[in-house]
Amino acid sequence: MPGLGASFGRGAATTFQRDLANSDCVLIMGSNMAEAHPVGFRWALKARERGARLIHVDPRFTRTSAMADTYVAIRAGSDVAFLGGIINYLLEHDLWFHEYVLHFTNAATVVAEGYVDAEDGGGLFAGFDPSTGRYDRDAGAWGYSIAGGAPEQDPTLRHPRCVFQILRRHFARYTPQTVAEICGCSPADVIRVAELLARNSGRERTSAIVYALGWTQHSTGVQMIRSAAIIQLLLGNIGRPGGGIMAMRGHCSIQGSTDLPTLYDLLPGYLPQPAVVPEQATLASYLQNGRGFSAALNNRAAGFWQEEAFAGYWANLPRFMVSLLKAWYGDSAARENDFGYGWLPKNDGDHSELATFFRMYEGGVRGLFLIGQNPAAGAPNAELNRAALRNLDWLVVRDWFEHESANFWYADPRIDDPKKIRTEVFFLPAASIPEKDGTFTNTERLIQWHEKAVDPPGDCRSDAWFIYHLGKRLKDLYRESALKRDEPIRNLTWNYERDEPERLPDGTLSRIGDEPDIEKVLKEINGRRLSDGAMLESFAELRDDGSTACGAWIYCGVFPREDFNRARSRNPAIVESTYPEWAYAWPANRRVMYNRASADPEGRPWSERKKLIWWDEQQRKWIGNDVPDFEVAKPPSYRPGADARGMDAIAGDAPFIMHPDGRGWLYAPSGVKDGPLPAHYEPRESVTENRLYETQTNPTLREYASEINQLARRVDPDFPIVATTYRLTEHYLSGPMSRFNSWLNELQPEMFVELSPELANERGIEHRGWMVVATPRGEIEARAMVTRRIRPLTIEGRTVHQIGLPIHWGYAGETVGAIANDLTALITDPNVSMHEAKAFSCKVRSGRLARSNLGEPVPAAPRANRSDPIPGTPRWAEPEGRFNSRGLRRRG
């Protein structure tokens, strides 16, 4: 999440969901929290009940809007403009938190000469290379101005090139009127939201911003998050109770999957994946040139960074990296062989999911393991993804049910002859969550253990079981090999064998004898001191001499003792505003990150009401209700000397310790690939011209141009309607887990399209009737849900219609329906290769397709043993609904 990473230092939500209850105002935007995260939403609701204002800004009036005090409808994809309007209003009306901004952000820092803002470059920042469609990383045009070895500062904020003035100029044209015309709302809406945020921020009050996939799935998603970060920094809401930016993740452990990444360009703990470049050929050169943070985000900026990158927490990179290599390669990793650095795969290009599937479509991938993923319905341009699957030699699918990506070769209604599909598909049944041990790392970085309750039925096994045994077999295969290329597998530590047979919670022996010991995996991630094998309690204990092993430095501390799994702790006790004994939050069980900012530069809480941690002069340390995100004994008055390195280079009043300058970045000199400041670009498929810049769309977005991935023209009159995709509470993702459950299916049984009565009238579409939605990629048919919750917007004097498409259906399951992702396009943003499913253009008509492509539902599974008594259970203890027409007999 470079949006947050570049702004604050770590790419994760800055706070935790429960903390929303401490907010005085919660802005939910790009998120339908009540529907997609109903359990977390309770805290937002609690805040409302305590008198906070709840604001929802969204193209659709959703169940979240129903709970909000203020709702603003905007055009999908216009979020940067709306947020820019708020920034403009805060700056022009002097509503920002002066002391916070001056000390804790880089507002006073002067940017190097040669920087060109989008304002002057027609929507392009300095350094854009039209031939590659990228900003030139080495041009250094976004860097700070260096004076005397440190970034130049102007505490008066008057320097024309200081960040504050740049910000002001950059957002000068984002006036409420202009923004309203872009977004289709009224100027008063922009002012209302800005005022609410401003009035509920400052010393005494804090506001929080919540976002989710509604911001990330855009070609400008990272910049939307950056805009929110700028607002929160200007209002002084980061690092304080009830403040922050809450990133709501789309999957239950997606945070975990970026922490211990399934990403191609990161190693566990956000260490950069080494690349195939001469500068990273050896461990030493990797540590020297990879430069932790900046390389992790694949961006390198101007001279300041070359010189000073060893400031901040990333100076510890060698300790993290060497400990990781020791965890992976064990005794084989030694100083002499670079701790096995050479065995790490080196990155040679874009291997993100979408890029890989495009290569698969083009024939560049032969085999695929698909574990808990359903690209045939869930990925953008689903037909492209299905074509990619059809191009494989072999495919292994592990899941609970035979979903679209497993049965595409015969169940896809567009397939005429299954014999012509060459892909050999292996479907392996997977265990579900209560059938296996493991952890979830949720959106607030909270590592939570879940216990296995029962054995999975039949041949279902945990994914860990599959990976573990696959690994064992691979190691067996290469055991005798003397080839150098096989060393990575031969030297990999791979022992998660159980010491004792597995037992279920009721004490009985598990039927499955060979499940790996998941706690051993978590212990390896936590790390040990190798001299005595003791578990590490903190990543401060990590060493770069090979004496510690740690699978992910950020998780260090989750298993501090051999018998103490903190992810498993379940003490709900609340300490002021946090609950430190409920599971474990990385890093170091910190609940609110950058919490040094909850105290003023001198270390005193900004206010009694919003205190979190503070400097205690007697004890000479930081104390409070949370684990300080700061060196505990560093006084507020500390100032680094000229030669200071690492954490010593961070001043006592600089809360953002992951950044080399310790400040929150209003202006991001590095870390973001499409500009140091957010600029409004239209979605790739937009119904209107960019009103602010000549540059219509994000200049750095990647289009996967192809026959199967056609895109609409610029402001294409053939596709005049804005479409957005979304989730319903009743289903999950593309439905592989929910569409096989009749309890959920009866709640939302059919694919529908939400549209306004005005659009329905215009196109003769009837409520509950059939309608067709088409984009250049394809067309789908679905039921029409005509509702006033969708309202037409006025953009530049004309009426613009929007429609909403739930993403939950496909051709597998008890209920079948059109796949919304048949309409979406495969285009990706430059930072995280995220696609743009939340804003695209389409056309609609009444009626059905000539050839329906909904598919055949599988019969709904009867609830097991509905009328049979449960063996060994007295009649009165059986579930009430276990209807038994012969209930009298055989009573217990």
Binding site: S186, R875, G881, R889
Partner: protein, 293 residues
């Protein structure tokens, strides 16, 4: 053997469990986010089958009503005015920020999780000719599955349309207030699953106090039109042990505005029936005794 046992089984009267404090639900619709977790939790705990997959287009309400196999049902009511044209000639200087912030939202989407009302005086329980419907030790109205013979009179008696006869077994079913869970000191599945505290379970006295406090709280927050439905008895109906906090008229949520206890006129009805009987008898007797014939 079996047949004999079946014949005598219903006449056995096991000892009644001692009374416990009356429990009930307080459903606060201002906190309901329409997630339907209550519906699913109820079906899952009680092992109730789905009622079929019917897209209704009635907002997000596809289960439509309580039934013999749906014991919690979330009602969705969309209330949106005709959209107005956005104002032209916006003048930021003339803007009254205070008025702007106080402006109420233009539309609303009401949600309510409906359930058996567990009436203080329950018509279904009074009507039941078998005694299958009982007031259990928690003062909840409970159908004894093994006694009910499916006569359907409770269905006719319920003014809320709650209880229904399931075609699966021919017996009447409705919310049990998770009697089985209560006996194990656990809250009902729906209340447990509700993420926002819209469904609150507890001793009914406590709930009523809580509900009144909640009303005051809402009043202080400026929420207009909030009131309690079924909190106290009306002229024609008892108080409900599962009562609601609503912000619009009851019938907007599918509740009767003014429920009436069906047995309210029972004595009079019996008398009128007797009167009719006597009248008919008089005609017959007079004719038979007449010497005209």
């Amino acid at each position: 053997m079996g047949i004999l046992a079946d014949l005598f089984y219903p006449f056995r009267r096991p000892a009644q469990p001692p009374a416990r404090p009356a429990t009930g639900f307080f459903t606060d619709t201002t906190l309901c986010i329409g997630c339907k977790a209550c519906e699913v939790a109820c079906k899952q705990w009680n092992q109730l089958p789905s009622d079929g997959f019917n897209f209704t287009g009635d907002s997000y309400d596809n289960t439509q009503a309580l039934s013999g196999t749906t014991w919690r049902h979330v009602v969705f009511v969309e209330q949106f005015p005709q959209p107005q044209k956005t104002e032209s000639g916006f003048a930021p200087e003339a803007l009254d920020i205070e008025a702007l912030l106080a402006e109420p939202p233009a539309g609303r989407w009401l949600m309510m999780s409906d359930v058996c009302k567990h009436c203080g005086i329950a018509p279904c329980e009074i009507a039941c000719p078998t005694g299958a419907l009982i007031v259990n030790e928690f003062s909840n109205i409970y159908v004894q599955n093994d006694i009910c013979n499916g006569c359907g009179y409770c269905v006719a008696a319920c003014p809320f349309g709650v209880i229904a006869r399931s075609p699966l077994d021919g017996h009447a079913h409705k919310c049990t207030l998770c009697y089985d869970r209560q006996r194990d000191d656990m809250p009902p599945a729906c209340a447990k699953a509700c993420p926002t505290g819209s469904i609150q379970f507890g001793p009914i006295d406590e709930l009523r106090v809580r509900a009144h406090a909640r009303l005051e709280e809402l009043d202080a927050r400026g929420v207009s039109g909030a009131y309690l439905y079924g909190d106290s008895p009306s002229a024609s109906y008892s108080a409900l042990n599962a009562f609601f906090l609503l912000i619009d008229k009851p019938d907007r949520y599918g509740l009767p505005n003014d429920p009436e206890r069906p047995q309210l006129h029972l004595r009079g009805d019996y008398l009128r029936a007797a009167f009719g009987t006597l009248a008919a008898l008089a005609v017959i007797a007079a004719s038979l005794m007449s010497h005209v014939f």
